[in-house]
């Protein structure tokens, strides 16, 4: 049973799914499209157009690969549905007609993750939806909320597969569910077989960021990792016992070894002994890795416990406005000139009476990522980019800020360039509010539909 990961976010390598389908034998193709930032964009798109709100790239991809997938019996699972899974599935059906496979495709759609239509009902029902980081109740920002989705698990997807779906489109679900679901379906794991479910979650966690487990963004001896221009995306070779091997197609680039897989296992986790999903709480600390041949890593030992009674929701709300202005200062004393320019800018903004919730100055090329750990900049830095960012609840002051950056070229410290991209853009801030929702307030609303297309 081979589950191929073919994308870690919307915007990942467009050809990766094609390479996964054509580069060797696979049974399932799974793709994760939904980062939090993506959800906020999709909510905005749907607000403008009720037909929109899903990953359009998925539709053109399906048009391209559906004939091959159907011919070889490769089934596809993707959360490309975003905030409009039904609309996405409809477009996939049209893509199937264009691809000449009309009537041969069975489509599955999972819905019920969208809490927005029921948000006030939930609040009225005594669910405060408190922010998991700050503890504040949602009521304080309710009128600014633009979207609310709950992370679903793998069982609804597995149900769609059980009803014969060749392609399953979902909205928000935990990333690992995309890989766990095919394993549930193929191996018939029970809902309380927690160790195996945990193994599937580990497999999904390894698989969910695409090439990040096969040599992409891998730090250990990065300069020795071959052929990243055609990096192989991950393939999970799963077994009914829960054991699995991580590998990549023969002839692809990259590297799969315990170092690259471990880097992915520790990516974006909290307590590794309690990786919570709607289906199981997985323990990553019991996992063991061993080499199983060239570019093959065997993963064993995952343990699981029953899931909690809560599901995680991600609520998007309007967080004001922001803009980032940049200028480049050259040797000598580049950093000192840039800092002096920032002081001039701040003084002018103050004199204009502009107030921001936050203003931040960094020197790109010196301290914008390592902060104070970078130490004081040397006087002989050849060049440095001044980056000034502001954020405020009102648009007008942020708009005015964007007009105060370019004037520094003729009115500030010398040896400045790099303003060719024009005035900075004002962007709306989509802020996130993580909250917990009781399982029983969500599960009765989850729907699995399958139909011919």
């Amino acid at each position: 049973m081979r589950v191929a990961g073919a994308g870690g976010f919307w915007g990942d390598d467009l050809d990766a799914p094609v390479r996964q389908v054509e580069g060797g034998p696979i049974d399932y193709l799974v793709m994760d499209y939904l980062a939090e930032v993506t959800m906020s964009i999709l909510h905005k798109q749907r607000a403008r157009d009720p037909e929109a709100g899903y990953a359009r790239d998925f539709v053109s991809l399906m048009e391209r690969i559906l004939p091959t997938c159907l011919e070889r019996g490769i089934r596809v699972v993707a959360n490309a549905g975003g905030v409009n899974p039904g609309g996405c599935a409809g477009e996939v059906a049209r893509a199937a007609r264009r691809a000449g496979v009309r009537g041969r495709l069975r489509l599955g759609v999972v819905t019920g993750d969208d809490l927005m239509p029921r948000l006030d009902e939930l609040l009225a029902g005594g669910h405060e939806l408190c922010n998991m980081e700050t503890g504040e109740p949602l009521a304080g920002i309710r009128e600014r909320v633009t979207g609310a989705n709950v992370y679903l698990g793998a069982f609804p997807i597995a149900e769609a597969l059980g009803r014969g779906a060749d392609v399953v489109v979902t909205g928000r679900c935990v990333d690992a569910a995309l890989t766990l679901a095919p394993l549930l379906h193929e191996f018939g794991w029970a809902a309380d077989d927690y160790d195996r479910l945990a193994a599937g979650v580990v497999a999904g966690h390894v698989n969910e960021c695409g090439a990040q487990c096969t040599g992409g963004n891998a730090m250990a001896e990065w300069w020795t990792i071959p052929d990243l221009d055609r990096v192989g995306f991950p393939i999970i070779e799963a077994e009914p016992s829960g054991e699995f091997v991580v590998t990549r197609h023969e002839g692809s680039g990259g590297r799969v070894n315990p170092a690259t897989v471990t880097e992915q296992i520790v990516y974006e986790i909290g307590d590794p002994a309690a990786y919570a999903t709607p289906d199981v709480v997985a323990d990553f600390t019991t996992v063991r890795l061993s080499g199983a041949g060239k570019d093959r890593v065997r993963v064993t030992g995952a343990r699981g416990r029953p899931p909690t009674g809560w599901l995680k929701a991600s609520i998007v709300y309007s967080g004001g406005w922001r803009a980032v202005g940049t200028l480049v200062y050259a040797w000598p004393d580049a950093a000192a000139k840039a800092r002096a320019a920032a002081r001039v800018l701040r003084a002018r903004l103050d004199r204009l009476g502009l107030r921001f919730d936050e203003m931040r100055t960094d020197l790109v090329g010196w301290d914008s990522t390592h902060g104070a750990l970078a130490g004081p900049p040397p006087p002989d830095l050849p060049e440095v980019q001044l980056r000034v960012a502001v954020r405020g609840s009102e648009r007008a002051p942020v708009e005015r800020f964007t007009r105060e950056v370019a004037p520094l070229v003729l009115t500030g410290p010398p040896s400045v360039t790099g303003f060719g991209e024009g005035r900075p853009r004002v962007r709306e801030v989509a802020a996130f509010w993580p909250a917990l929702v009781p399982r029983e307030a969500v599960e009765p609303f989850v729907r699995v539909e399958t139909r011919e297309a």
Binding site: M219, Q264, T369, F432
Partner: protein
């Protein structure tokens, strides 16, 4: 004993969850895991980052994978799309941690020297550095 940079003993990957950064630190050599577990305490990591991390650092251990996981709350200026930081998703916090100096036996320092860094023979020279 000798002071070495953590980058010679371990590789690391970091990412975000809201305003929280996590850094997974993985020993290059399994036998260096216990050394890392002893020296790389939550307190030392907290001190290393200073005002860059406003919440309390928590450490988790993954001995089977010879890795440690550090959770750094309130490190991303509000997190995600709100943050004005260049590294708003904490992607390279890992490297900021690898700058840390740790004390190791002289023999270990000798064996690990240069590990984690591009070999000198591969440094960029001449035209390779441009364009």
């Amino acid at each position: 004993m000798a002071a070495v940079k953590l980058v010679e003993l371990a590789h690391a990957r970091s990412g975000d969850k809201g305003d929280v950064v996590n850094i997974g630190v993985v020993a290059y050599e399994p036998e260096h895991y216990s050394l890392l577990a002893e020296t790389l305490t939550a307190e030392r990591v907290q001190e290393h980052f200073g005002s860059m991390v406003k919440g309390k650092v928590v450490r988790y251990e993954l001995p089977n994978l010879h890795a440690l996981n550090f959770v750094l709350p309130r490190a991303l200026g509000g997190g995600g799309t709100v943050s004005l930081m260049m590294d708003a998703q904490g992607k390279v916090f890992s490297t900021a941690l690898l700058r840390m100096e740790v004390e190791v036996p002289d023999e270990t320092a000798q064996r690990t020297r240069g590990r984690g860094r591009l070999p000198e023979s591969l440094y960029l020279h001449g035209e390779e550095t441009h364009g």
